[in-house]
Symmetry: C2
Subunit: 250 residues, 2 copies
């Protein structure tokens, strides 16, 4: 039997999703709890790695069980074993050929910014601060460029094994409230660091350091424009992963 | 010269506002930084204590300086000395008879709740979780009772030196979004723990443990109804303190 977990985690204390020697990771926490419940070593396969410090509201990961699980009971037991900063928010059965990474159709990430001269203690855990002056229209103009199918080579830190750097971004939009800007990006896949570099480009535009043409040039040349930062991990959240599965009742 | 600081802090690491022996407090952090900048021992007087773990988006506190301060420069220097979880978001000059506690006209607190079967890692720092079933209408009906002038004796942990337990609540309302309820309460003053007990009453009503009549009886008898909890500190934030001062430009 194959099961799909939806996981929420606060990434602050973790060296990311993926199991590593000499570092605490979310995968290790989940696998340890599953091993205790299922009685044998269990591997969880996530939709993708999240980097050190990155959060998830809806990471997806599958695992196999030899026995049929009472889903709500199992999830409750799993949460009792998991630490406070990692919880399973849903559990469902999936077909045996389902794969959390390869079956994923869309992923949505958020990136949280605020514009202020003063660092905000209450937002320091999950936001990236931008100092004024800041031109929100220029920020939004660059954000809009990301929609569509593009070669994002200049936006990713290409690791080994990436076959193509072309990705489709279905939506790149922002919610603006007071001094806060939350960016939501939905795509069919993301290169390593891609959302943090995209946010860095839009911020650089808002700060007047680059313009729309510089970003267009990044698509055509595959070279990152100067002065583009990979923004900090703490403001990035994997919001959800879509598989086109039938909705389940709660 | 008397100055009024507006302070934002994450209360998680502090034993509250007020200076104590053998415990780290926000007052101590601010006074230590002020002493460094002003060159002599400086006492800060807050609008009131916040309890251990309680946050502030706009605590107000005054102090005296023998020299005239370049306000924005001073605030910048102060923030450089303060820890990441305490920052001065504003600084203004006030008359010499101004007092952060006694001149306060209104205070607003917020209390953050979410209704969920599962603990939420990303909300654990600043929210209190309520398990379903929960009747939001009953919650709101009790919340509305708090508006007006009442004897809040049953809602406060009366410390020494409280002359009267009558307080005026100007507004008690809630913002509801998805599974979250944020309560905002504005009043001319609050007894110790009063907002956390008020929130506890409204939650007990939402859970069907008490009704509107029980809360009315609390006003008339001064006795707390059974089963009312003082909700946790981590979800409480002192949002702002109003003095009726002239607005200042930014």
């Amino acid at each position: 039997m194959r099961y799909l977990l939806t996981l929420e985690y606060d990434g602050a204390a973790y060296a990311g999703w993926q199991r590593q020697k000499n570092a605490v990771t979310v995968q290790e926490k989940v696998e340890t709890a599953l091993r205790t419940l299922l009685g044998s070593k269990t591997v969880v396969y996530a939709s993708g790695r999240t980097d050190a410090g990155v959060h998830a509201a809806g990471q997806a990961a599958h695992f196999d069980s030899e026995r049929v699980l009472d889903k709500e009971r199992f999830r409750y037991s799993l949460n009792a074993l998991l630490p406070d900063d990692v919880k399973a928010v849903a559990l469902r059965e999936v077909p045996s050929d389902f794969h959390a990474q390869y079956s994923a159709k869309k992923k949505t990430y958020s990136y949280r910014l605020y514009i202020s001269r003063t660092p905000s203690p209450l937002r320091r855990a999950r936001y990236c601060r931008i100092t004024p002056p800041f031109d929100t229209d220029k920020f939004l103009a660059v954000l809009a460029l990301f929609e569509g199918e593009h070669d994002f080579k200049a936006f990713g830190n290409t690791g080994s094994g990436v076959k193509t750097t072309v990705r489709r971004v279905y939506s790149a939009r922002a919610e603006i409230a007071d001094d806060e800007i939350t960016v939501f990006v939905t795509g069919n896949g993301f290169l390593y660091n891609m959302v943090r570099v995209m946010a860095g480009c839009a911020v650089a535009a808002g700060k007047g350091k680059i313009g729309v043409d510089d970003v267009k040039a990044m698509f055509s040349t595959g070279e990152r424009a100067r002065g583009i930062k990979t923004l900090p991990a703490n403001a990035l959240t994997l919001e959800n992963v879509e598989y086109g599965l039938e909705p389940i009742g709660v």
